[in-house]
C-alpha cells in the first residue's frame, strides 16, 4: 500500500498552505476623533486618523482598545488570504464601537466578528 505515505505527505503540504497574509483596514469616524491605543492580537496598532491598512496573518484576530481599566475587546476580525477586512471604529463612543462592513455573530463586542 503506497497510499499511506502519499496521504501523509499531502497532509503535511496542506498544513504548509494554511498560512499567508491578508489585510485589516481600520477606518475611524469621524476622521478628527482621537483614536485610543489599539491592539490587534498582541501587536500595538499605530492607527492614523482616517484609514490605516495593516498586513495581518490569516486567522481570527482580536481588536482591542486600551482604556483606563486595561484592554477592552472591541470585536474579532477574520483575516483571509489576500483579502481586506474593513472595520469602522467610532472612537467617540466609550468604549469605541466596531462596525463591520461584513459581519457575522451577534451585537455584543465578544461575539461581533468582522469578516473579509
Amino acid at each position: 500500500m503506497r497510499a499511506g505515505p502519499m496521504a501523509l505527505t499531502l497532509l503535511a503540504l496542506a498544513g504548509c498552505n494554511q498560512g499567508g497574509t491578508g489585510y485589516v483596514e481600520l477606518k475611524t469616524v469621524p476622521v478628527s476623533a482621537k483614536v485610543p491605543p489599539l491592539f490587534l492580537d498582541a501587536d500595538r496598532v499605530d492607527a492614523k486618523a482616517g484609514v490605516t491598512l495593516l498586513r495581518q496573518a490569516v486567522g481570527t484576530a482580536k481588536l482591542q482598545a486600551e482604556g483606563a481599566d486595561g484592554k477592552v475587546l472591541l470585536c474579532h476580525v477574520v483575516v483571509k488570504k489576500n483579502r481586506i477586512t474593513t472595520v469602522t471604529l467610532s472612537p467617540m463612543e466609550r468604549p469605541p464601537r466596531c462596525q463591520c462592513e461584513r459581519a457575522s455573530g451577534g451585537e455584543g463586542a465578544a461575539s461581533r466578528t468582522c469578516i473579509g
Binding site: G4, P5, L8, T9, L11, A12, L13, G15, C16, T21, Y23, E25, D43, V45, D46, K48, V51, T52, L53, L54, R55, N82, R83, I84, T86, G116
Partner: protein
C-alpha cells in the same frame, strides 16, 4: 492503541515527518533575506534605508505591473466563470504583493516615519548649532529641509498608492463574491460579463501604478 483506531506504519510516519522538516526548512530559508541582501542596509541611517527600500520597491512594482498588464489582457479572453475566478484569485495575489510593500505596518512605512523624524530632529539640532559659520549652517539647514520635503512627498505617494491598491483589491474580492453568488444561481453568462468588465478596472490600476513608478522619488537621490 485501542480497537477501531488506524495504525500507521512507523516508516510512513518517519517519511511524513522528514517531509515536514524539509518543507519547514525551505519555508524558513525563503522567508529570510540572504546575508548579502541584508548587509548593505545594516548601520545605514533611516533616511538612507528609506531611499534604498523605495528604489527596490520601484523595481519590484514594475515586475508586478507587467504581470497585471498581462492579466488584464488575458481576462478579456476568458470563456468560463471558473477560469475567471481562478484569474481573479491570481490577480488578488499580485495586488497583495503591492499592498504588502506599502501597508502601514510594513517596513517602508516604518522607515518613512523614522526618516521624517530624523529630518525633523536634524533641523532642530542644526538650529541650535553654534560650531559652523552662518553660511555653512544655512547650507546644511537648506539641504535637510529639501530632504524633509522629499521624504514627505514620498510618504504622500505611498499613501496614495496604498489607497489605490486597497481599492483594487476590494473591487476584485467583491467581484469574486458576486461571481460566486451568480454561480450559485447558475447565472453563468452574467458571471462572465462581470469578469470581462473587470479588465477596465485592472487597466486603470495598471495606469495608476505606472504613474506612481514615474513620480515616486527616493529622497536624496
Amino acid at each position: 492503541m485501542g480497537h477501531g483506531s488506524i495504525a500507521i506504519p512507523r516508516r510512513y510516519l518517519i517519511a511524513a515527518l522528514l517531509t515536514l522538516v524539509l518543507l519547514s526548512a525551505a519555508a524558513l530559508l525563503a522567508a529570510q533575506p540572504s546575508a548579502a541582501q541584508a548587509d548593505p542596509k545594516q548601520g545605514a541611517s533611516p533616511d538612507v534605508q528609506f531611499s534604498q527600500q523605495l528604489d527596490e520597491l520601484k523595481k519590484s512594482f514594475s515586475d508586478v505591473g507587467r504581470q497585471i498588464d498581462e492579466s488584464a489582457k488575458s481576462i478579456d479572453t476568458i470563456k468560463s466563470p471558473e477560469e475567471g475566478r481562478k484569474s481573479i484569485e491570481e490577480l488578488r495575489g499580485q495586488v497583495a504583493k503591492l499592498l504588502d510593500a506599502v501597508a502601514d505596518n510594513g517596513e517602508i512605512s516604518r522607515l518613512g516615519g523614522k526618516a521624517l523624524a530624523l529630518a525633523e530632529e536634524k533641523l532642530k539640532s542644526l538650529d541650535r548649532e553654534t560650531r559652523f559659520k552662518p553660511e555653512e549652517k544655512q547650507y546644511l539647514l537648506n539641504r535637510w529641509r529639501e530632504l524633509r520635503a522629499a521624504t514627505e512627498t514620498a510618504i504622500r505617494d505611498l499613501d496614495g498608492a496604498r489607497k489605490d491598491f486597497a481599492d483594487l483589491l476590494r473591487s476584485l474580492q467583491t467581484s469574486e463574491d458576486y461571481i460566486d453568488e451568480l454561480m450559485q444561481i447558475r447565472e453563468h453568462e452574467k458571471a462572465l460579463q462581470v469578469i470581462h468588465q473587470l479588465s477596465e478596472g485592472i487597466r486603470d490600476a495598471s495606469t495608476k501604478l505606472k504613474k506612481l513608478l514615474g513620480s515616486i522619488k527616493p529622497p536624496g537621490v
